[in-house]
Amino acid sequence: MSSLNTESHIEPAPLQLGTLEQCTLVDLTELPRVGFRGQQSAEYLQARGFTLPDAPNRAVTQADGSHVARLSQTEYLILGSLQDRGERIADEQARWELDHSANYLLPREDSHAWLQLSGVCIAEVMAKLCGVDLRCAAFPPGAVAQTSAARINVIVINLGSKGQAAFQILFDRASLEYFKDAVLDAMAEFDGQVLEIEALQ
């Protein structure tokens, strides 16, 4: 991205009161996540105790704080919980084996980077990168958009609440540096801040 605004670097800030409102970016790439795809994936995941979204492009938060997003009729993306640092999901990835059932693991932790964008104006931030209307009325909590942002493919999942939107953004891991810069540039006019993952716990 040929940003002309080279001085818009935003330094990580300590967690402060009022930051829930502030436009905040957290890099969650170190947190485990995994995908499953196949005719028998739903059955498999339900047996593993997951509650699944009933339609594609919907997401459901689990009791332990992990999330399951459904990306197609037969594909699921599972995001680890901050509560256990994604341990449950890492275990799910480790225990899976290729057998004769139609349930194929997708290495989402390796293929995708993960950023969380939260705060009051995140729909406006994303509108500088992405052609899909992500305002709350069009993109409520639980919605998933597989789309293009800053000219790369992204999966945007709204896992916020009605009053507090939070987008989980997953995208090509090899593009992490590129995309993070693009988001930071877009956040600059909204006084965006960067927090470390520790701040969320």
Binding site: M1, S2, S3, L4, N5, R37, G38, L98, H100, A102, Y104, L106, P107, R108, E109, D110, S111, H112, E124, A127, K128, L129, C130, G131, D133, R135, A138, A150, R151, I152, D172, R173, A174, S175, L176, E177, Y178, F179, A182, D185
Partner: protein, 965 residues
């Protein structure tokens, strides 16, 4: 100079004076002024010189719609002075003059206009041959528009999407009313207005005798709109185009909004039209709306004594405005025989204003220097464009004209709307708009205020229904209204200077002459005469040109039409289009290590890869040393960018068997096979290695640049075949390194304990899953660079650890990283092709000697039938290896291979090989040139021919002993 009292001056702040300069002289304006209004307030009307004849010009529209107000700012040329907000301290100069703006030494050019007709440049300066070279610099200098600031620093411009249920373009009475009606029904409305203030014509025009209606209505509508939770207003914002499905680029300050609206309503209004008579371009001659804008927006008195020339009742209302503000109205000249509303005539007469009916201004008069209008020659109209031989001359310093209206049709026509001319109304009307696009107000042909409001409510009602909302407003009926356009406001003068197009100095005879020369089509008239090509883009010239061309060619005006309206609606900066562009790039997990090792990076698709490690000035030496190190010791290369696909499921082998040319059904587990892919045309499109890790698990590599396309093609085929298989693109998820060279096994042995790495235990083309440096990996024995080598594939998150472990383990063996350039040389020495470098859009397998990789025993693969057909025909060309002595000029990729006088092929790869001490390369040559030992002529730089020797491939280690041991 004092301003008019309030309520005049809607835009200005009388308490905030601003100092500025124009052409070096100091002036004072007020906050809220445009540059032009501030200058006019100081009595300065002459703002620019015309493009061709250097005639003095002043504001025509006061709305940024004409080229007369183009001025130069310090760092920006061609700024519209009547729409550019005045800033404190700004230094403004005129442009396009020789000497000074007031005394332009080139003004004599106007006297020669008879000798400078349209097409004059092309006809006069191109003969004799070569003459243009002499004339061009002189003419270019005369025809300059502004000066660029070459020290200008780029600024931050960006783009953002905006979403709305309804976008309303234009916040005049129609736009305001429609936005309100739709918003009351629950629609989320985006209201876009070019001006800094809402209201459109309500801010400057007069709609009733008393002169209160506009102001009252404006306050009512604006208050409701600005307080409405469902309406977002963008002021000083221009919708510069209409694109399919209501995709609207809206420019505001330094941002381009990409508006996507479910519904779009265009309430863009209409352009007040000038009347054509001699000297209708003098400073002080302006549209009636311009005079009204000056008074109402800026509290500037446009003159002391005015003549108002009109073809409709609006001119009478403007005359009342002028009179109310203390301008003496010397006469109202109505081209019609009677006003539609007799009460207006009486109102004027009551104020002592003389009305000349059935008359026109035939010529605007001036004193020496033409710096301002000084009078009007008024004549009775005797026929179409004809006037009586004598008339009445009145002194005036302001001449207002109103010939009628032209709908602002640009966005509507871009959307597919068709213009037709209504001969009765003498007006263009619109039809044929696409779904979800509506027009209302004067752009829709309604000019009476009540009708405009009724039409807006009607349009909004349709939109509300289309949005599945419930209408809350009651419809109003429209009533018949008075005609606003005078059918022929064109009065050619025998002495000319009766301007049709002010931007390009085009007179009536210029248009007529274009048709006489044979240009009948309006598009050709435009290109020949340049009418409508200037900054105002035909806003005032399209209608008279259509009328003139129609009359000259004895056709209807509908048939003649106007020229195509294309985006942008008004000039936009490249920065708006280019600003904040996105250029994605990808980096491997080892990127930082490469940078630390001094890698010179190169793009591979959008990946960044090390080309070689070292300085750019030592590229050849670095690359040769890296290659030699692989041949003699051991090297390591990051091949994470290589495409990777996991193909899993009971039909995995069947899928690959259909997609690649080779046979895969019986491929043993733990082995890899070369995989070549053709498309349905039989053309080679990709290659890779197919590694079988299980009965129903293959791992397939693909080229860096090809993998995404290949993956998509696989999905497309299987959407049809419905095989029981999952295809996953794991390119970014799996990183890889290739450790290659005689010592590579020794390096690997230090970090891998759970595999038998012996030549027997893990042979060439074997594949294994094992642990390297504590990481679960996939290992592939490959021979791309022609040495003993291991490709080690790991999950991306562990790749950096792997790299560090291998570098550490390799220290004892002097392991060194090598880049893409060395890898390319090494593979070239082995005669391995790179798909899309050594192949093109025609290459089929036999041409690159890959017949061995095509299975003839299976029933089908994509491209099979085409390959069969191609190979049944005599082969025309072949990719051959060639050598040249070290001292020969080195051919470059793309250099031509000749066969007699014909081109028989081209060089695809070429490099000096230190191992062979020769220049080696690959090239396409005619089939009869392809036998080893034959000489092929190659035309290199500067047309030099070198004769290369065709050799059998590979160049190096023909028995493949090094990679297989």
């Amino acid at each position: 100079m004092s301003r008019l009292p309030a309520p005049m001056g809607l835009l200005i702040d009388r308490n905030q004076p601003l100092d500025f300069s124009f052409d070096g002289k100091p002036y004072q304006g007020l906050a809220g002024d445009s540059i032009a209004s501030a200058l006019l307030a100081n009595g300065r009307f002459l703002l620019s010189r015309s493009f061709k004849y250097h005639r003095p010009r002043g504001p025509l529209t006061m709305a940024g719609q004409d080229a007369n107000t183009l001025v130069q700012l310090q760092s920006e040329p061609n700024v519209l002075a009547d729409s550019h907000l005045l800033e404190s301290g700004v230094q403004v100069t005129g442009q396009n003059f020789n000497g000074s703006l007031d005394n332009d030494n080139d003004a004599y050019l106007g006297k020669f206009s008879k000798f400078m007709p349209v097409g004059f440049y092309y006809r006069s300066f191109y003969k004799p041959k070569g003459a243009w070279k002499l004339w061009e610099p002189i003419i270019r200098k005369k025809a300059g528009l502004g000066v660029l600031d070459l020290k200008f620093q780029p600024e931050y411009y960006d783009k953002a999407y905006l979403f709305a249920d309804l976008a309303v373009i234009g916040a005049g009475p129609a736009g305001l009313q429609a936005a309100l009606t739709a918003a009351n029904a629950g629609a989320k409305v985006l209201l876009i207005e070019q001006q800094p203030v809402l209201g459109g014509s309500l801010t400057y025009a007069r709609f009733d005798l008393e002169g209160n209606r506009a102001q009252t209505l404006r306050r009512e509508l604006v208050d409701a709109v600005e307080g409405h939770a469902n309406i977002r207003v963008l002021k000083k914002a221009t919708c510069n185009a209409w694109f399919t499905d209501n995709y609207l680029p809206v420019i505001q300050n330094k941002r381009m909004y990409k508006v996507r609206a479910t519904q779009c309503l265009i309430a863009s209004g209409s352009f007040d039209q000038p009347v054509i008579f001699r000297n209708n371009d003098l400073p002080g001659v302006m549209l009636t709306s311009a005079a009204q804008r000056l008074m109402k927006l800026y509290a500037v008195k446009p003159g002391k004594r005015a003549v108002v020339l009109t073809g409709n009742d609006d001119g009478y209302l403007a005359a009342l405005d002028l009179h109310d503000q203390g301008v003496e109205v010397a006469a109202l000249v109505d081209m019609r025989n009677n006003p539609a509303d007799r009460a207006l005539l009486l109102a004027l007469e009551r104020r002592g204003i003389v009305c000349h009916l059935g008359s026109t201004v035939f010529e605007a008069l001036h004193e020496k220097g033409m710096r301002h209008v000084s009078g009007a020659d008024i004549r009775k109209i005797t026929g179409l464009g004809q006037v009586a031989s004598s008339g009445l001359v009145l002194d005036c310093d302001l001449l207002c004209m109103s010939g009628g209206y032209m709908p602002v049709y640009q966005l509507l026509c871009q959307a597919g709307g068709k213009l037709a001319y209504d001969d009765q109304l003498a007006e263009f009307t619109l039809s044929g708009l696409p779904k979800n696009l509506t027009v209302a107000g004067s752009a829709h042909g309604y000019h009476a205020l009540d009708n405009v409001l009724a039409d807006a409510i009607h349009a909004a009602a349709e939109i509300v229904v289309a949005l599945n909302l419930e209408l809350t407003s009651k419809p109003l009926a429209t009533r018949p209204e008075a005609q606003v356009n005078f059918p022929w406001p064109i009065f050619p003068h025998p002495k000319g200077k009766d301007f049709v197009d002010f931007d390009e100095d085009l007179q009536v005879r210029d248009i007529i002459n274009a048709t006489k020369i044979g240009y009948r089509d309006i598009q050709l008239v435009k290109r020949y005469s340049t009418v409508g090509m200037g900054p105002s883009q035909g806003r005032h010239s399209a209608l008279p040109t259509a009328r003139l061309v129609a009359a000259c060619t004895q056709r209807g005006i509908s048939e003649t039409g106007v020229t195509t309206a294309r985006p942008p609606f008004e000039a936009e900066k490249l920065a708006h289009v280019a600003g904040r562009a996105f250029d994605p790039y990808r980096q491997t997990p080892m990127h930082k290590r490469h940078m630390d090792a001094g890698a010179k990076m190169m793009p591979a698709g959008i990946w960044q890869r090390p080309a070689y490690y070292g300085k750019a000035s030592e590229r050849d030496a670095c690359m040769q040393a890296e290659a030699l190190h692989v041949r003699n010791k051991v090297g390591i290369i990051d091949v994470s960018t290589l495409g990777g696909l996991d193909v899993r499921g009971p039909d995995a082998a069947e899928l690959l068997n259909r997609l690649y040319t080779f046979a895969f059904l019986k491929q043993p587990i733990g082995r890899s096979r070369y995989a070549l892919m053709t498309n349905e045309h039989g053309v080679v499109i990709d290659d890779g290695v197919c590694a079988r890790f299980g009965e129903n698990h293959f791992y397939v590599t693909a080229t860096t640049s090809g993998v995404d396309r290949i993956y998509q093609q696989m999905l497309k085929w299987n959407a049809q075949w419905r095989l029981n298989v999952d295809i996953a693109n794991v390119t970014a998820a799996i990183s890889a390194v290739n450790v290659a060279g005689p010592d590579s096994r020794k390096v690997l042995e230090k970090v891998c304990q759970d595999l038998d790495l012996s030549a027997e235990g893990f042979p060439y083309l074997g594949v294994r899953q094992g642990t390297v440096a504590g990481i679960k990996t996939r290992l592939l024995r490959v021979g791309f660079v022609g040495e003993l080598g291991y490709e080690i594939h790991v999950p991306a998150r562990h790749a950096l650890k792997l790299w560090d472990a291998l570098m550490q383990a390799g220290q004892a063996f002097d392991i060194r990283p090598f880049g893409v350039e060395a890898q390319r040389l090494l593979r070239l020495e082995k005669g391995h092709v790179i798909i899309s470098q050594d192949t093109d859009g025609m290459t089929h397998p036999a041409e690159i000697d890959m017949g061995w990789a095509v299975s003839r025993t299976k029933p089908f693969f994509v491209g099979r039938r085409s390959v069969d057909i191609l190979e049944a025909q005599p082969q025309k060309r072949k990719l051959v290896g060639f050598t040249l002595p070290r001292v020969s000029p080195r051919p470059l990729e793309g250099h031509l291979v000749l066969s007699g006088a014909d081109i028989s092929g081209n060089v695809t790869s070429c490099e000096y090989s230190q191992s062979l001490d020769k220049i080696i390369g690959l090239a396409y040559a005619a089939f009869d040139q392809s036998q080893p030992g034959q000489q092929i002529p190659i035309r290199v730089e500067d047309g030099v021919i070198v004769h290369a020797t065709v050799v059998k491939l590979p160049f190096f280690d023909p028995e493949n002993q090094r990679q297989e041991h």
